[in-house]
Symmetry: C2
Subunit: 511 residues, 2 copies
C-alpha cells in the first residue's frame, strides 16, 4: 500500500513536469504561429528580415525544448511498461507525438536548426519577389540551401528505403514512397483515362462566364457572407488577404484564414476561402480540453487537407451548394450572371481543363499537379536532379502530365509557397486529402442520407456537427491511420475517390 502511494506520487510528479513542458512548447508554438502569420499578412517591408531572425530564435527554442535532455528523460520514464500502462488516452497521445519528434530530431544540432529556421523565414520574401518579377534566379540561392538542408535532415531522421520517406513522414506519419507510388499510379491511370474521355466526348461547359471582371469589393462581401454560414466562427477567427492563401491557428479560439481576390478570376477567392475555411473549422472544433497541449491541432496534414478539400469540393462544388448560393451570388453580380442558370453555373465551376495553377485546378487534374510535384521532390531529395534545373524540368513535366507548358516561371515552378518554408513532402498531403475526403463522403452519406438536401437548404449545422463529432474534436488524439479506420471502418483506399470522380464527371459532362 505504502509503495503504491509512493509510485503514484512519482508518476504525478513526472506528469506535472511533462505537462508543464508541453504547455510551454505549445504556448511558444502558438505565438510563433501568430508571428508567422504576421510576417506574411501584416509586417511592413523593412522590418521583415530582422523579424524573421527573431522568429528563428523562438523556433530554435521550441526545437531545443522538444529535443532537450529533460524531454528525453520524461519520455523515457513515461514509456516504461509500468508507467505507460497507467497513462490515460490523452497523455499516451501526447507522449506519442513528442516521442516521434524527439527520436527523429534529437540528432540535429541546434545551430543547424537555427540557421535553417532563419533561412526559411527569410525565403518567403525572396519567393514573393521572384514570383512578382518572374525571376527564378532570385529564389534559387534560397531554394538550393533549403534543399541541401532537407537532404541532410533526411539522413539525420533516417529512413528504410528512400530518403524522401523521412520527409513524407513529417507530414503524414508512416507514409512512404513504397506505399504512395502504387496509390498514385492507380489514381493517375484512372484520371488520365477519364480526362481523355471528357476531351473526346464531353459536352462543353460554359466556363467562359468566368472571363469577366468581378468587382473585388463585392467578392469580399460575398466571401464574408458565406464564411459564417458554412460553419466558420468569425468570433474565433479572421479573414485577411495574402498572395498565397493559408490558414494559421493561434489557438482554438483564434484561427486565421487568408484568401486572394482577383478581379479577373472570381473562382480564386471563392473556392480558396471555402478551402481554408475547411482547415479553420477543423481547428475551431477541436476539444477545448486539448487546448494549450500538443494535441490542439489536426491529426496530420493529409487529414487536414481532407477537411479543406471536402468543404471546397464535395460540398462547395456540388450542385446543391449552388442551388442555395447561386441566387445570392447573382445578387452580388447581377450583370455578370444575368443569363446564367444554376445548372450552367454548377457545370462551369466543375469544368475540367488542364491548367497551369494548382490551386485553381479542377478536381480531376488537381491530383496530376500533385503527382508532378511528388516526382520532382522525390528526385530532388534522392539527388537525381538539382534546383537550378527545376524551371526546365517543371515545364517538361507539365507537358507530360497535363499536355500544356507554362509560358513563365511565375505560372510554373514559382507558383507554390511550400518549398520556401521548407515544406518538402507536403504536397502529397493534398491528394491524400482528396482520397480521405472521398472515403469520408461515403461514410457521412450513410450516416446522414439527406446530406445533400441539407446543403441545398443552406443548412450546414448537422454536417459540421458530424465532422466535429467524428473527426474534428479529436485533434491529434489519434494517428491519421487510426482516425480514418475509426471513422470509416477501413484504411486509406483510392477506390472511393476514383469512383467519386467517375460518377461526378460522367454526369457533369454527360459521358
Amino acid at each position: 500500500m505504502e509503495q503504491k502511494v509512493v509510485h503514484q506520487t512519482a508518476l504525478q510528479k513526472v506528469l506535472e513536469q511533462f505537462n508543464y513542458l508541453d504547455e510551454k512548447i505549445t504556448h511558444y508554438s502558438s505565438i510563433l504561429g501568430l508571428a508567422d502569420w504576421d510576417l506574411k499578412v501584416m509586417a511592413p517591408k523593412k522590418g521583415r528580415s530582422v523579424f524573421a531572425k527573431a522568429t528563428g530564435t523562438l523556433r530554435t527554442e521550441i526545437f531545443q525544448l522538444s529535443v532537450s535532455k529533460e524531454m528525453g528523460d520524461l519520455l523515457e520514464t513515461l514509456s516504461t511498461d509500468e508507467l505507460h500502462s497507467q497513462l490515460d488516452e490523452v497523455t499516451k497521445a501526447k507522449v506519442r507525438e513528442y516521442k516521434e519528434y524527439y527520436q527523429k530530431s534529437k540528432a540535429i544540432p541546434a545551430d543547424l536548426f537555427k540557421e535553417y529556421s532563419i533561412l526559411t523565414a527569410q525565403a518567403n520574401d525572396a519567393w514573393e519577389e521572384a514570383r512578382e518579377y518572374n525571376d527564378f534566379d532570385r529564389y534559387l540561392p534560397f531554394l538550393e540551401k533549403i534543399i541541401d538542408f532537407k537532404r541532410r535532415f533526411a539522413e539525420i531522421y533516417g529512413y528504410e528505403e528512400h530518403p524522401y520517406d523521412a520527409l513524407l513522414d513529417e507530414f503524414e506519419p508512416g507514409l512512404t514512397v513504397k506505399k504512395l507510388d502504387p496509390i498514385f499510379a492507380k489514381l493517375r491511370e484512372s484520371s488520365v483515362d477519364l480526362l481523355n474521355r471528357i476531351r473526346e466526348s464531353g459536352q462543353p461547359t460554359k466556363a467562359e462566364l468566368f472571363d469577366q471582371s468581378f468587382d473585388i469589393e463585392k467578392q469580399k462581401a460575398f466571401n464574408r457572407y458565406i464564411l459564417p454560414l458554412i460553419g466558420f466562427d468569425m468570433e474565433a477567427g479572421r479573414l485577411d488577404e495574402t498572395v498565397h492563401p493559408f490558414a494559421q491557428t493561434v489557438n482554438i479560439g483564434d484561427v486565421r484564414l487568408t484568401t486572394r481576390y482577383l478581379e479577373k478570376n472570381v473562382r480564386s477567392a471563392l473556392f480558396g476561402t471555402i478551402h481554408e475555411a475547411g482547415h479553420g473549422i477543423y481547428e475551431q472544433h477541436i476539444n477545448p480540453e486539448y487546448e494549450e497541449t500538443v494535441l490542439q491541432s489536426g491529426a496530420s496534414f493529409g487529414i487536414h487537407e481532407s477537411q479543406s478539400r471536402f468543404l471546397e469540393n464535395m460540398v462547395g462544388r456540388s450542385r446543391e451548394f449552388w442551388q442555395f448560393f447561386f441566387p445570392k451570388l447573382k445578387e452580388h453580380f447581377p450583370v455578370q450572371l444575368d443569363e446564367v442558370s444554376v445548372e450552367e453555373f454548377y457545370r462551369a465551376v466543375n469544368t475540367v481543363q488542364p491548367s497551369m495553377i494548382r490551386v485553381e485546378a479542377d478536381e480531376l487534374t488537381y491530383n496530376l499537379h500533385i503527382m508532378l510535384r511528388y516526382d520532382i521532390e522525390k528526385s530532388l531529395i534522392g539527388g537525381e536532379i538539382e534546383a537550378k534545373d527545376l524551371p526546365q524540368i517543371w515545364n517538361q513535366k507539365m507537358q507530360d502530365y497535363l499536355g500544356i507548358t507554362p509560358l513563365t516561371d511565375t505560372e510554373g515552378v514559382l507558383q507554390d509557397v511550400h518549398w520556401s518554408f521548407g515544406g518538402i513532402g507536403y504536397f502529397p498531403s493534398y491528394s491524400l486529402g482528396n482520397l480521405y475526403a472521398a472515403q469520408i463522403l461515403r461514410k457521412i452519406q450513410k450516416d446522414i442520407p439527406e446530406f445533400y438536401q441539407h446543403i441545398e437548404n443552406g443548412r450546414f449545422e448537422k454536417i459540421q456537427a458530424w465532422l466535429k463529432e467524428n473527426i474534428h474534436q479529436y485533434g491529434k488524439l489519434y494517428t491519421p491511420n487510426e482516425l480514418i479506420v475509426k471513422v470509416t471502418g477501413e484504411e486509406l483506399n483510392a477506390d472511393y475517390l476514383i469512383e467519386y470522380l467517375e460518377k461526378k464527371y460522367t454526369k457533369v459532362y454527360g459521358l
Copy 2:
C-alpha cells in the same frame, strides 16, 4: 604579453555570451511586442484569454533570462574594474540597462511574475468591457490585484523614501517623489494662474467648429496623407485602429501606430496620430547598429513622450503647421471648414477648456490631468487609498484640479488603459515629456532659427534630421538625464515649459 592575450580572450568569451543572451532577450521581446500589439489590434474575441496566457509564458521567460544566474554572473564579471574599463560605450550602456533590471527584479519569484503577466494581459479585455458598459466593477477585481502586485513589487525593488519611487524609476530612471513634487507644484501654480487669466480675459476661440460630423473615411485619408509627410516611414511601419491609440515597436524597420477615429471629434485621430507618429519616428531613427540589442528603444518613457508631445504640440499645434496643412484639410472637408480661416482654425485647435479626457486635453490643462493621476497613484501605492474608492476619488479630484465632474466612469476613472497593463508610474512621463519637449524646442530653434519656416513650408526633413542626430539615433545609449544634458546643456528645468505656455496662450487668447 601572454597574460594580456589570455585576458582579452577571456573578455571576448564573456562578451560573446553576453551579446548572445542580449540578442535572445531582444528577439523574444520583439516577438512579445508583436503579440501585445496583435492582442489589442487583431486577435479575435474568443482566443484572447488563452493568447494572453501564451504571452505570459514568453514574458516570464524573458524575465527569467534577465534575472538568471547566467545573467548575474556575466554582469558581475563585466562590472569588475579591470574588465569594465575595457568595454566600449555601447557595451557599457547594455551592461547598465541589464544591471538595473537585474538588481531590481532578481528577488521576484518567477511564479509571481508569471501570474502577474497573465493578469495584465487579460485585464485589457476587462478594462475595455468596463469602459464600454460604464461599469467600473467589471474592472475592479483586476485592478485590485494589479495594485496589490505593484505594492509588493515596490517593496521588492526597494526605495529610499516613498514606495512609489520604486515604480517611477521603472519609467524614468532616477525619478522620485521628492524630485517631482516641487516640479509639479511649480507647474501647477503657473498653469492654474494662466488658466484663470484665460478664463477672465481671454478672447473666445471658435472651438464650436469642431462640433460637426467629419466623415471617418476622409479622416483616414487625411491621416494617411500627413503621416509620411511629417517623417513617418510607411515602409517601416503601419497605422491601424484601436480604442486607445498607442505605438508598438517590433523592430527598427517595423514600428506600428494605432489611432482612433471619431466622427464627432476630428481632433481625436488628428492629434492622436501625430502624437503616436512622434513615438514611431523616434524608434525608426534609432541607430541600426543597436538593432537586436537592448539599446533598440528610447532612452526613457519621459524622453519618448517628449518626442510625441513635441510633434503633437510644438509642431502640430503651431500656427505654421496649419498654415501649410489647413488648405489640405479643407480639401477633405470643404463643407465643414467653408467659412473658417487658418487663424481661426489655429486658435480653435489651441482652445483651453477644462475637459474630461486626458488624451484630448489642451496643452495647458493636460498637465493637471497628469498631476491628478500622479496624486492618486502615489496614494494608492502608499496604501492611503484603495481601488474600490477610485471612482469617487477621481471625480473629487477632477473637481479640485479642473473644476468639472465626470458624469460617468467611462469618461472618468476608466478612460486610461495604463493601469490595466500594470503601468503605474507611467503617467508622470507625459508631463516630463512636455517639460523635456519645451526644453528641446528652445535648443532646436537655436540650431535651426528658421524652424517654424520649415514647418510653414511643409518641410520636415531638416527638423527630423536634427532630432535623429541629437536624440533619436542614440536609442538607450544614454540615460535620460545624460541625454537631456547632452542635447540642451542642462538638466530638466520646468521654466521652459512654463515660459512656452505663457507665451503661446498670451498670443492665442490676446491676454
